[in-house]
């Protein structure tokens, strides 16, 4: 059982190998091991709402269909619950794959089908940048402004507020400068990476 299973070599179509290689490099998973048993999709809580099921995403990557994958709503509806990766008989961590695809989609400027999810993630990240910790009230306000979805969940939000579960004023940790430094460095390194990729093309 120590022998790796045989993988199928697909004929090369334009850009296919580059895409497969980049995805695999980023997530560290060997997608050639997938034999389409569908265990990932069967256990996925959000698969019924996805345009492509998780197993199909793996197949599309193998075919090199970059745009279909990086513009799918599936990558944004994945909640990283890791049921897929835990159950995969070939130990492909599809949760890590989805993280890599989301990041690639953003970096390469693909249109996100689930704008609300991206807006919420951005509002959350900005909240940490501002105070070092998440402050719900300002984070939610920013999300509402970014998404344009002003009315949803106002009543539950008010109930939480009445229960004293949403502090009004944001705090700031003492070491906020170190958080901002981390943000700066992680974004700068991302830029360098993009430049490097740009030159090699």
């Amino acid at each position: 059982m120590d022998e790796p299973m045989t993988t199928v070599e697909l004929p090369d179509i334009e850009g296919r190998q580059t895409f497969v290689a980049e995805v695999q490099e980023r997530c560290g998973e060997n997608l050639g091991l997938c034999y389409q048993c569908l265990k990932c999709t069967v256990g996925c809580p959000t698969a019924p709402y996805m345009d492509f099921n998780p197993n199909t995403i793996v197949r599309l990557i193998q075919f090199g269909l970059k745009r279909e994958v990086l513009e799918s709503n599936a990558i944004w509806l994945c909640v990283s619950c890791e049921t897929c990766g835990t159950r995969c008989p070939n130990e492909i961590d599809i949760g890590l794959l989805m993280d890599a695809l989301r990041e690639m989609s953003l970096e390469e400027g693909y249109r996100a089908k689930e704008k609300g999810v991206v807006a919420l993630h951005n509002a959350f990240m900005e909240s940490i940048r501002r105070g070092g910790r998440v402050h719900e009230a300002t984070m939610l306000m920013e999300y509402k402004l970014r998404s344009g979805d002003y009315w949803t969940d106002l009543i539950p939000g008010m109930k939480l507020f009445m229960k004293g579960k949403i502090p009004l004023l944001p705090g700031r940790i003492k070491g906020i400068d170190s958080i901002r430094e981390i943000y700066k460095k992680t974004q700068k390194q991302r830029k360098v990476l993009e430049d490097r990729e740009g030159k090699s093309r």
Binding site: L77, T86, E103, H121, I128, K159, K163, G175, Q189
Partner: protein, 292 residues
């Protein structure tokens, strides 16, 4: 470094409260401090901790998602104490970072230089439920029980982040975990057998896809009810609020406890002021069993 809950026996842990401890999961934080104090365990809050980044950051920027928890690891390393994390989500992010630091030398160098620290592999990161069950142990817990939770039928909900991915969390059994079930038995409650213990409640999409999440939550709460449970118990700030706020199963619904709240009742602790914080009041249920 601020000491927040001091016991008597000198047993100490380093503590990462997480952002929800001051807001939506304030009753978790209050009950943790009360229960651990009763058990003689001290918690030392990590100095100037920051948000773990949660799903938002690992969805958008891998390096940042490792560096934010790494700053907390750097702070926790300053003590020689084991690090205890109550929220399943925060625990998962810290363990993901630990795994990257231990298994990926190139990433480790990058994270260390970005955050400005040197990682020490001997720092132990534990989920609070693991520390309670395996560190404190059932013997001491049973000894402390003064008001057994007799007649309380509870569905133990572990969710995703505590048990998955098992290579990251290395906690309990990913498909049919038992820690909370055994803890509930130790407290005198009845943990029902059911099959939705680790099914995701979709909390990350609650704000953007409310209708979808109501369906996911209803399926979990409905199955708990069908299995005979009158309440759920969990160990995650996000699961708790999502399961209580998004369920729509008619009547009053099932209250969702943090496991430390039920420990507090069984220990008969004074000042359980956290009850009023629940979105679904557990008073009727607790009164019916003379547990309040």
């Amino acid at each position: 470094m601020r000491e927040i809950a001091s016991g008597e026996k000198g047993e100490m842990y380093s503590y990462f409260p997480g952002c929800t401890s001051h807001s939506t999961a304030v009753e978790y934080d209050l009950s943790i401090k009360a229960v651990l104090k009763a058990l003689g365990v001290s918690l030392v809050e990590i100095e100037d901790w920051n948000c773990c980044g949660a799903a938002a950051v690992h969805s958008m920027n891998k390096l940042l998602s490792l560096c934010l928890p790494a700053r907390n690891i750097a702070m926790a390393q300053k003590t020689d104490l084991e690090l205890v994390v109550p929220c399943a989500g925060c625990f998962n992010m810290l363990k993901r970072t630990e795994r990257a630091l231990k298994t990926d030398p190139e990433m480790r160098r990058e994270v260390e230089s970005t955050v400005g620290f040197t990682y020490r592999e001997d720092l132990k990161i534990r989920a609070l439920v693991d520390m309670v069950v395996n560190g404190i142990g059932f013997g001491r817990i049973e000894e402390r029980v003064q008001k057994p939770l007799a007649g309380l039928k509870v569905a133990c909900y572990y969710g995703c982040a505590l048990v998955r991915h098992p290579k990251v969390t290395q906690l309990d059994e990913p498909e049919n975990p038992q820690y909370l079930d055994r803890l509930m038995s130790a407290l005198g409650a009845t943990a029902v057998d059911w099959s939705f213990k680790t099914d995701c409640c979709g909390a990350d999409l609650a704000l953007t896809h409310g209708d979808m999440v109501v369906k996911l939550v209803n399926r979990i709460v409905g199955m708990a009810q069908e299995a005979g449970a009158e309440c759920l118990v969990c160990s995650c700030g996000l699961c708790q609020i999502n399961l209580e706020m998004r369920q729509d199963i008619g009547a009053l619904g099932l209250p969702v406890f943090y496991f430390t709240e039920l420990m507090g009742i069984a220990f008969d602790l004074e000042g359980t002021k956290w009850w009023s914080k629940h979105m679904i009041s557990p008073s009727t249920l607790l009164d019916s069993l003379s547990l309040r």
